[in-house]
């Protein structure tokens, strides 16, 4: 691997999670199983999976950095490059497309004007398309960071984007699944 780029300058990526990691390693008889939980944690911590994080995971699990890299590059949720504060993932699979996902995506792109890499100039939003997120009865839908937003309309998407810009959060996100609504 090339010299370390990215990562938390001067410190260890997982330093403040020592207790969690100690507990995590008790769950598996083979340490390597903790790769995905640690990669997910690294991305949560830093916004992407840095080389520093992959080296540290390798150290923690007695692996080589390429073994960690090999696993990390298989999974679409893991990104080796930084993304916007809000990662907007619009489902484009058939079930959402049947109920207007393409229209919504076009509107979002026209409204936020992301560059070729999907990121807005201010670095706040990255728009990407994803395949089915298991929300087909409530499409069109998108996931922003950890949260699902369902039964979207242009109006609703506009409110979500505005809320996120202003407060960093949005009350329109989905709670536990309940469809169809019953009295």
């Amino acid at each position: 691997m090339r010299p370390v780029s990215g990562g938390v300058a001067g410190g260890m990526v997982f330093d403040k999670h020592r207790d969690f990691i100690a507990e995590l390693l008790t769950r598996y008889p083979v340490k390597r199983s903790a790769i995905l939980p640690l990669l997910n944690l690294a991305q949560r911590e830093e916004g992407c999976v840095s080389q520093a994080a992959m080296r540290e995971i390798a150290d923690l699990l007695d692996l080589t950095p390429p073994q960690v890299f090999e696993t990390a590059t298989f999974y679409t949720m893991l990104s080796l490059k930084p993304r916007g504060t809000f990662h907007v993932q619009v489902c484009r699979s058939l079930m959402c497309a049947l109920v207007g996902a393409d229209d919504l995506l076009a509107w979002l792109r026209a409204h936020l004007e992301p560059g070729a890499d999907g990121a807005t100039a201010d670095g706040r939003f990255t728009i990407s398309t994803v395949e089915c997120l298991g929300s087909c009865a409530t499409g069109p839908m998108m996931q922003i960071n950890d949260d699902y937003y369902e039964q979207l309309t242009r109006d609703k998407v506009g409110r979500i984007v505005n809320d996120l810009k202003q407060t960093g959060d949005c009350a329109l996100k989905s709670g536990p699944f309940m469809m169809p609504e019953r009295k």
């Binding site: 199983s33 999974y75 949720m77 109920v99 395949e131 089915c132 298991g134 499409g139 169809p180």
Partner: protein, 436 residues
Amino acid sequence: MKTFEKILLKNMEQPGYAGSLAEYERAGGYQALKKVLGRVPPADVIDTVKQSGLRGRGGAGFPTGVKWSFIPRDHPGPRYLCCNADESEPGTFKDRQLMERDPHQILEGMAIACYAIGAQTAYIYIRGEFRLAATILERAIVEAGRAGHLGADIHGSGVTVNVYVHAGAGAYICGEETALLESLEGKRGKPRTKPPFPATHGLYQQPTVVNNVETLANIPHIINRGGAWYAAIGVPPKSPGTRIFCLSGHVKRPGNYELPVDATFRDLIDDLGGGMRSDKPLKAFIPGGASAPFLTPEHLDVQLDFESVARAGSMSGSGGVTVMEDGTSMVWAALRLMEFFYHESCGKCTPCREGSAWIVQILQRILNRQGRPDDVRTLEDICGNIGGRTVCAFGDAEIAPVQSTLKYWRSEYEALIAEAGALNAGRKDIPVLSVS
């Protein structure tokens, strides 16, 4: 439609039910676990599940009790249970509801399954995108542990069951059971060749059972009410029980509906789903997730059980039913699904990896009025070279949308290609060799 009793969605459809341990226990929860622990020998638990005829709800429909009975009794090392919560078949969203609204139903099923196969450790492999469901499950595991339903020496029986949530990070293929095991071992999620099967060489090469969320959620009810009770519902003896069908697409009321499998697609789409969303009639539907061949209005009276759907030329799969109205381009629909498969092919087997890319390219050019006279034949040729020639069932799945739309709506392909011929007549592109 005749009346029936819901099994899996019964609790959560009570007003105000939020799936806490107290609510689940009030509804009779964890009685089945107490009933078997230390009282019913594991082999008898497996026999009850066998007798129920319950079949896997993830897509393949393998009999659950039979799967459990494959775990070698005399194995000296550990055994494992994996709950497959990687729900990512397009059109399927039932497991998410089960996990978010009634997590203890799944945990109780898992504890019973662990007892039956002699596993002390169970993992719930959940797709990484389901953060909310993962949080709810983790909370439920802590709750159940405090109440003594999980952990060491459950209710003084000496039985230990530890359940952990393990989140994936975005890969459809990890729903395939051996890819799931590879992923859980910290590797790239590529399916293994079978045999050996997970029952003897699964997680860490130890005997392992992989069951879908909905399958495990059925277990407490089967233990409480008996195998014979369950076996009498639906279409005995081969397809007993109720299933949760996920209705999406151009219907008035999309959503999850639990039905005994002797109901028909018409019952599901018209009675429960409220029929089509507009005055356009139904043109096509997918009966069991993206991997299932498309069906037509002629098939609306087909029953929902595995065998009936198979006889109609498709598969009941994961229970995801997607409805398309008149005016939907079938070439476009096939392309959308094909793009999904191209995106998700793990790359292990050449026919699937390369074939999915070729099919996407051909469908794109047909749709963009650049189709070539030989394209339909080329599509059929490529599909014929993928099916049955890959390590896992993904290869057979990815050709379903193309083959079935070619079967029923071939004229749509031909019309687009004819249009391209008229549009591009006289153009001097580099000639393309025919496949024959």
